[in-house]
């Protein structure tokens, strides 16, 4: 194993770890914000979102350490977060929530 190989695999591990810890937290947070926009009774759905956000977090950590390339993992995370935020914005703007 050459030096550059080892370096690349270290970067891979760091990237996966960041995707799991930071990406997971970002997806969970976006989910809570989206849940808050899901109904007129904002509090109820928001608390429901907080209670279920761990599902996203655990799923992201499991996904980040699956045999997919870090680039692909980050891509999926980015799409998830953007989709959730776009849905939130749409609900707020279109339905006045």
């Amino acid at each position: 194993m050459s030096q550059s190989d080892g370096l690349r695999s270290d970067w891979g591990l760091g990237s996966r770890l960041a995707a799991a810890v930071l990406g997971g937290y970002a997806v969970s947070s976006a989910w809570v914000v989206l849940c808050g926009a899901m109904s007129q009774a904002r509090l109820e759905t928001m608390v429901g979102g907080m209670q279920s956000s761990w599902l996203w977090y655990v799923a992201v950590v499991i996904g980040a350490f699956s045999p997919a390339s870090p680039r692909r993992i980050w891509g999926v995370l980015l799409i998830l977060i953007l989709a959730m935020l776009a849905a939130t914005a749409a609900l707020i703007l279109l339905k006045g929530r």
Binding site: G49, Q51, V58, I62, A64
Partner: protein, 573 residues
């Protein structure tokens, strides 16, 4: 390097192999902390019996009270007298406070009289009044009892590590790691049903793996539930994004979120002065509405015309054991008009389904339902969870004693050595610290100032000493030394109690004091188990040279790795 080696690593190999890697490392780095959280959380199930054992000066008082129950009631002060004393104290001492809270009596109308308020800094403050005269009870007049955290030490440690908000976050992260380890463990391990019935004793590494699987699989639903509810109880702290998005950031925003969630329709101060009306009629109406005796009377904005009076009830133990949501009844009145503003029946919540879920999550985690049998079930499942982490951490090292895997490059041996030491200190050392905490309770002088802090100092000092000892001593000897220390401390606990307080196990049993007896019986049981483990370690390590194992085995930890063929068979996947 061989291509086969490359299969192990982050995101390497098949999905299951990648999950096995995640399970191994996520499990290892969090196992020690999670073991500590689980063991102390398991002891916290029996917080009250431990507190009872740790406050022996209260025993005589409690017995006298139990004898007098009923006969003495008439001479004690009445509810209306207690309310008046509480109000008089508040008006005299804390006229400007934002909130007054009186706890006039226990569920039977007797007991202590306590008052609480928010002081100038918004901090919750408390005082105790004499239920016979209404005067403030001075700390120096209280009969000399040993100041102790009691069983609450285990409660606080298992969710905050005695480090407040920082500790809460650390434990929360560990709980999430536990969920990840559980999910990746289940994926790694597909023969879940078969392993119900698999246990291969005396097979070295195989036996540790079977034990790890058996305790985890048998109690898997409990482990998922307790880790999840543990996170979800504090979800508004851990996941503040929604609050930040819709309520703003900062302490004020969190407060307005809490008010909107728990106290919808809380009024603002009006600015007009109005004295607080007589409380007794509110208490009587509130008690009738919720069907519970009064526990607390809460007055928001006392002295203002917008003041509200909330009557909170005492949960009945039998009633509480039959419902998942542990909330008590509450009736909220306007102080000015006496109009009922809000009513919550016992077990109910002020919001909708999510609020009820939140209440049930709390009840599930703290075993408020189901009574004593359920507490024992939580206790046993909690011990199984601790065993799951301990066997997992031991398995990691057992696997590597026979076969160096070089994960940490040139420093692999050093890191293995540290992990061995951490295993000993975390698994046995924590046991020593816990029973040492009980020893400190009996040995520290009663009159020492900051006594309850000193008990904590002993707990942490013993734990650190255990770690230093494990780092200095070779692993097999460290395991044996600490196991022996644990056995001695546990087995001698009843004797220590007899010498220092004159209380003894036989007397507890004769008096039917199951709380006191339970603590000592459990300590003795742990002592016997530790002594058994010590004897087994001594025996197996004595056998090894006779079996002509390679000399290097001697320098390596638990004797179970002796079987080299077993080490070859097993890998997690």
């Amino acid at each position: 390097m061989q291509p086969a080696k490359k299969e192990s690593g982050a995101g390497k190999g098949s999905f299951r192999q990648a999950q096995a890697w995640l399970h191994t490392w996520c499990g290892l780095w969090f196992s020690w902390l999670l073991y500590a959280v689980f063991l102390t959380g398991t002891l916290a199930v029996f917080e009250e019996p431990i507190t009872h054992w740790m406050t022996p000066e209260h025993h005589a008082h409690e017995q006298a009270e139990a004898l007098q129950a009923g006969s003495e009631r008439e001479t004690a002060s009445s509810m209306s007298q207690r309310l008046q004393w509480g109000m008089a104290y508040m008006q005299r001492q804390h006229p400007g406070a934002d909130m007054w809270e009186l706890w006039p009596a226990d569920a039977k109308g007797g007991g202590d009289l306590r008052v609480y308020w928010f002081d100038g800094d918004g901090q919750y403050a408390a005082a105790q009044l004499d239920p016979a005269s209404g005067n403030t009870v001075d700390a120096s007049e209280v009969p000399r009892v040993r100041q102790t955290l009691g069983g609450h030490h285990f409660v606080d440690f298992h969710y905050q590590l005695h480090a407040g908000q920082l500790g809460l976050w650390i434990v929360g992260i560990a709980a999430l790691a536990m969920l990840v380890a559980l999910v990746s463990g289940v994926i790694t391990h597909r023969r879940i049903f078969k392993d119900f019935f698999t246990f291969r004793a005396r097979k070295g590494q195989r036996s540790w793996l079977d034990m790890h699987n058996a305790v985890a699989v048998l109690t898997l639903p409990f482990q998922f539930m307790i880790a999840y509810t543990g996170i979800a109880i504090s979800c508004s702290t851990f996941m503040p994004a929604g609050i930040a998005a819709y309520f703003g950031t900062g302490a004020e925003a969190v407060k307005s979120f809490q008010v909107a969630l728990n106290e919808p329709g809380k009024p603002q101060r009006s600015g007009q002065a109005m004295s607080v009306p007589d409380l007794e009629s509110f208490v009587l109406r509130g008690q009738a509405l919720i069907g519970q005796p009064v526990r607390a009377v809460v007055i928001d904005y006392p002295g203002d015309a917008a003041a509200r009076i909330g009557i909170y009830g005492w949960n009945d133990a039998d009633d509480l054991s039959k419902r998942l949501s542990p909330s008590s009844g509450m009736a909220m009145f306007s102080a000015a008009t006496g109009e009922l503003q809000q009513l919550r029946l016992p077990g109910g919540v002020d919001g909708g389904a999510a609020s009820l879920t939140q209440s049930v999550i709390g009840g599930l985690h703290m075993a408020t339902y189901g009574g004593l049998p359920l507490k024992w079930m939580y206790f046993i499942c909690g011990l199984a969870g601790s065993a799951m982490m301990a066997t997992g951490a031991i398995l990691f090292m057992v696997k590597r004693r026979g076969k160096h895997q070089g994960e940490f490059g040139s420093s692999t041996s050093t890191v293995y050595r540290m992990i061995e030491a951490a295993n000993v200190a975390a698994i046995v050392g924590l046991g020593i610290a816990c029973v040492g905490f009980l020893w400190a309770n009996r040995l520290l002088p009663v009159e020492i100032s900051q006594r309850s802090r000193w008990e904590l100092v002993v707990f942490f000092a013993l734990w650190i000493l255990a770690l230093i000892h494990a780092l200095l001593r070779s692993p097999p000897l460290a395991w044996r030394d600490q196991m022996a220390a644990l056995a001695v401390l546990c087995l001698l606990l009843p004797l220590l109690n007899l010498v220092t307080t004159g209380d003894q196990l036989a007397a507890y049993l004769l008096d039917g004091d199951w709380e006191g007896a339970g603590v000592e019986l459990f300590a003795v049981a742990v002592g016997v188990a530790a002594a058994g483990a010590w004897a087994w370690m001594r025996k197996t390590s004595g056998l090894k040279p006779a079996r002509k194992q390679m000399a290097r085995e001697l320098s390596k930890g638990l004797p179970v790795a002796a079987d080299a063929s077993a080490a070859k068979q097993g890998s997690l996947s």
